[in-house]
Symmetry: none
Subunit: 196 residues, 4 copies
């Protein structure tokens, strides 16, 4: 009702509308036309924003993607906090598999893993701002469950996480999809102590 009919920028403070337009434009372009269509010019065009506005706030288009990924995965793939049960953990990794294979934001994740291969700077901030913090939360999730006696894996928490997310990500990267039951099989196998 009270919305202005034209976006009006906010003067000497950062324009939140422009920020969001950029993030959405980047996301949309990636999903619709792939990473190669994700040029700063195209983002600016699509967002109705000047190139300079992008360069003012983000050092590269990769950081734009990273921002969308961080926001989206905080919303749509939260790591369980507090005391986690084996069921919580299984649920998290199932959601992770779905996120990576079906959520648009999952495509962003894969694109960033890829881009980090090509560009050391990307790798660095991708780790610092996404992978590392998330890994910490995941580790805490596993550890809390171990502490509570819910599971007693033979591997370290890190190795467990790699052993589950690794195959999921690898199959997603190679475009072969994650087969039904793979996550469950891995989780079952890894979280319980090996007999003998």
């Amino acid at each position: 009702m009270t919305t202005a009919n034209r976006r009006t920028h906010s003067g000497s403070r950062r324009d939140e509308a422009a920020r969001e337009a950029v993030l959405h434009a980047a996301d949309d372009l990636l999903v619709e036309h792939g990473f190669s269509a994700l040029t700063v010019e195209a983002i600016a065009r699509r967002a109705g924003v000047a190139k300079q506005t992008i360069y003012r706030w983000w050092p590269s288009k990769v950081e734009v993607l990273l921002d969308t990924l961080i926001e989206d995965s905080a919303k749509r793939l939260p790591v369980p906090v507090g005391e986690a049960t084996a069921k919580d953990i299984r649920g998290y990794f199932r959601r992770f598999a779905r996120f990576v294979t079906r959520d648009p934001a999952g495509q962003v994740l894969l694109a960033l893993i890829a881009e980090a291969q090509h560009n050391p700077g990307t790798a660095k901030s991708f780790h610092a701002r996404y992978l590392r913090p998330r890994r910490e939360q995941e580790r805490a999730m596993i550890a809390s469950c171990v502490d509570a006696g819910g599971i007693s894996p033979a591997l370290t928490p890190d190795a467990v996480i790699d052993a589950i997310t690794g195959p999921v990500v690898y199959r997603a990267l190679t475009g072969t999809g994650v087969p039904r039951g793979l996550v469950d099989a891995l989780v079952d196998d890894l979280l319980k102590p090996r007999s003998g």
Copy 2:
């Protein structure tokens, strides 16, 4: 006065020297300056070859890389053929981990996995010419061992391969290295039947 110092092309047949110069130039550039330095112009410059010569024989720089990867991994990471023992399999995956983390050709593999994310055409020929054939050989290796009774994994051969290579590749892609013992732990865990 015997010139001959300069490579002299051969007339109406494809110039093998040019082909090899291109492959080596691509490999070297990737290792020395990373994927972002790997432009067709740079390859041509380094190989002492005209751009057109590259475009004549390869549809893109990615196919150049793919050719080097195919040649190099046939040489340096052969899949065991014939009857394979559990030991052979473990050995193969150990060599795989070393290849991916330490061999220059492993960098090519990672770069192609990455590039396949950005470009559907790359993905297609990367699968058809590298991943698929290799996966077939790996599957045969596992199957022959199962048939011989050497192992009896709970998962399908494909799942086993993913469960081992997945974490290795994932850690390599995220630049975190593959910890000592990870491969062995995964192999031990997956090749032997689950108790109970």
Copy 3:
């Protein structure tokens, strides 16, 4: 402890200090770094003034220059008023030549002649605010001397002025300097009646 070191603007009336800072900044930039360095942003930076303050009071950077030119040439190159002798006229044109070739304000004049070529709006206000009024005074100077019988040129006053300032300006514009004696020769030649 009495701060006051920082210029403090004056509230709801135009800030004279800002006005002068702008004029001087423009002048300095032109002389030091040439016309191409004379951007509104650079003037604002140098003057310690916001861009908006410039746009509030001047329609363009050219008008800033024009203001400095008008002030400076009123001070340093006044046209003789009242009854003029041939000697006054010669003196004026000598000062004009020196102004155009050596005075920083002369550079401003040349820059505006140039800019007027590129921009019709500049041309218009440059004529209206500088060239026309000045030409009127020059014409009056010549006319008063003719009336007094001091000279009797074969050409109209306008043509005389053009015939003297033209070569001076042309040589200044082409950076070739005004040779000693050129002004005197032209003045001698033009102010006295042609024999025969």
Copy 4:
């Protein structure tokens, strides 16, 4: 009849058609929309040429203009060569006045005089490639006439040229037009010796 219906560029040699398209585009843009519309992008657009093609052959748009000026004034404002009469000289300066005030190429000349004010690099090559050679020819024209006894001016040849072209150029630059008879009056006045 035999013209190709599409311009086809000429391979590894410079494309003459592209060169001419650029020169004409620059000329046209200057005349139609003024110097401020003369951007490299606009020239490229208009000429149907890639920007890089312009940057490959010209260091700046100014050099493009300079090339058009050199070609055009060789064609349309040749300096008389060989023994020149007073009539030839008068004719040349009359043509010069018409060139500067009415010929599109004259606009290019004025634009370059202007731009040379703003940019030292422009000034340098404008002098070296246009003004200096032309001045040499003009000086030779005057000298040959003096030698033949056709005229005996009180001023040096250079001063004579400046005294005639100066006012013409100055009036053209200030957009006031060159009045009928001004050139003749100046020529008459300057080429004949002052009596007494």
